[in-house]
């Protein structure tokens, strides 16, 4: 090839680039590439949903329900509308009412369809369907933005979607992986709080146990103190209502509580080690609001010190089978709780220790 030919090819390439730039065709080509990539990922999400749906339907049919698809379809598009936020009066009461109604409705759907199934199995099906519903929502939202972007030639929308897709895929994969513990009943990373409480109960002299509002209250004697342990009733998939229960416990004791400790899993920042423990002040609970505010109100009303212990983990570790590092940290967190009780209270004091999180795989 002589230099004239090469020069001609170079000129043509530059001319083509120039034409692409001034006509905006390059953006259209880029848009097509993005749309293609998003569509491929959307197909992966669809495959995951189909696979998970088949798995859930199989479990339901094994429990004796003849038309699992009907039940799954009903739950898949179930929604909860948030209360009005611009009028703050009673927002917590309204939010609590809405969340509890949603929770109860979903439970009744399953109870009515599977009347002979035990509490443990029902809770697993309930959470599995919630996971499926979450995946379905992600799929529908992505599809909506993809089709809107393509129809309106909105390349900025497609670009944003393309950039956010790797993060969304990570969430989808996490949800997909979370189906395993929720169909087999293994503890997850978020079960850390209930596991710490379970181990503390094992260490103490248990006096009584009762269940209120899906939440266990265990009265025990530990380190010469009267300790009231609060955790979601296990071993099913359940988060209980620890806030409301702590509030009523404090009222029941007329405020004579010397310390409230909450133990929970917390999302770590990038760079932090999985299983690292941190101590602080406040209510360690990640609910939408009603439970947390109930603990804060009870502690504030009677001036009770509110201490928190958290164990760090990422989103995936919180929702999938508990990692060994997190299990080992639960034992260290237990020692932290014992140290806090010894340091902050005198013998014969009354202490509330709440293990916050989903108690799947953790009994009591």
């Amino acid at each position: 090839m002589d230099s004239d030919t090469i020069s001609l090819i170079t000129q043509i390439i530059w001319l083509a680039i120039f034409i692409l730039l001034i006509t905006g065709l390059n953006q259209k080509i880029q848009m097509r590439i993005w749309a293609m990539d998003i569509r491929n990922k959307l197909n992966i999400i669809k495959r995951i949903i189909d696979e998970d749906r088949m798995r859930v339907e199989k479990i339901i049919s094994n429990l004796g329900y003849k038309t699992p698809a009907v039940l799954v379809d009903r739950v898949l598009d179930f929604f909860v509308i948030e209360p009005v936020g611009i009028e703050p009066t009673d927002i917590i009461k309204r939010l609590d009412h809405t969340l509890r109604t949603g929770e109860g409705t979903l439970r009744r759907f399953i109870e009515n369809s599977l009347p002979n199934v035990g509490k443990f199995e029902r809770s697993l099906i309930e959470t599995s369907m919630e996971i499926l519903s979450g995946l379905n929502l992600i799929y529908k939202v992505i599809r909506h933005y993809l089709l809107t972007g393509e129809r309106e030639n909105n390349w900025i929308l497609l670009m944003q979607l393309e950039l956010v897709m790797p993060t969304i895929m990570k969430y989808v994969e996490t949800y997909h992986m979370a189906l395993d513990p929720f169909t087999t009943g293994k503890p997850i990373g978020d079960s850390l709080g209930p596991l710490v409480v379970y181990n503390l109960v094992e260490k103490s002299k248990m006096l009584s146990k009762r269940v209120v509002d899906d939440t266990s209250i265990i009265e025990a004697w530990l380190e010469d103190r009267r300790v009231l342990f609060v955790k979601a009733e296990g071993p099913g998939s359940n988060v209980g209502h620890p806030g409301a229960v702590i509030n009523s416990l404090v009222e029941e004791l007329k405020g004579s509580v010397d310390l409230i400790i909450t133990v929970d899993a917390a999302l770590k920042l990038e760079g932090e080690d999985t299983g690292s423990i941190a101590e602080g002040v406040g209510a360690a609970i990640g609910d939408p609001g009603p439970e947390k505010i109930a603990i804060e109100r009870a502690a504030t009303k009677y001036n009770i010190p509110l201490r928190a212990i958290v164990v760090k983990m990422d989103y995936r570790e919180a929702l999938t089978v508990m990692r060994k590092e997190i299990f080992e940290s639960s034992l260290k967190a237990m020692e932290h709780v014992l140290r806090l009780i010894r340091e902050e209270t005198k013998p014969n004091s009354t202490v509330i220790v709440a293990g916050i999180g989903n108690t799947i795989g953790v009994p009591l």
Binding site: S3, M322, R323, F327, G361
Partner: protein, 91 residues
């Protein structure tokens, strides 16, 4: 025989490097860690501990067999996932 000028050679090399780089970038995937579920059994009498594969239906607190050291009850203390490559298999 005509020789290519340095500018053309440079451009061709640059294009080849770019293609190879793009190919490698698309092929690059993070290493996937495979996890298996294990359970820790503890004897509360003598403190003996053993880690085994998780079996369906097992739960924390379940008494599963007798302690080989003292004959006490072996209880499941924890169920957790472990990186498969880090498990030492006997034999």
């Amino acid at each position: 025989m005509s020789y290519l000028d340095p500018y053309t050679v440079f451009t061709i090399i640059l294009v080849i490097i770019l293609i190879v780089y793009m190919f490698m970038e698309t092929k690059k995937k993070p290493a996937r860690v495979e996890y298996v579920t294990r359970e820790l059994l503890v004897c509360y009498s003598c403190g003996f501990q053993v880690e085994r594969d998780h079996e369906p239906g097992d739960f924390i607190g379940l008494v599963k067999g007798k302690c080989p050291r003292c004959g006490g009850d072996l209880k499941i203390k924890g169920i957790y996932s472990v990186d498969k490559s880090k498990i030492l298999k006997a034999g």
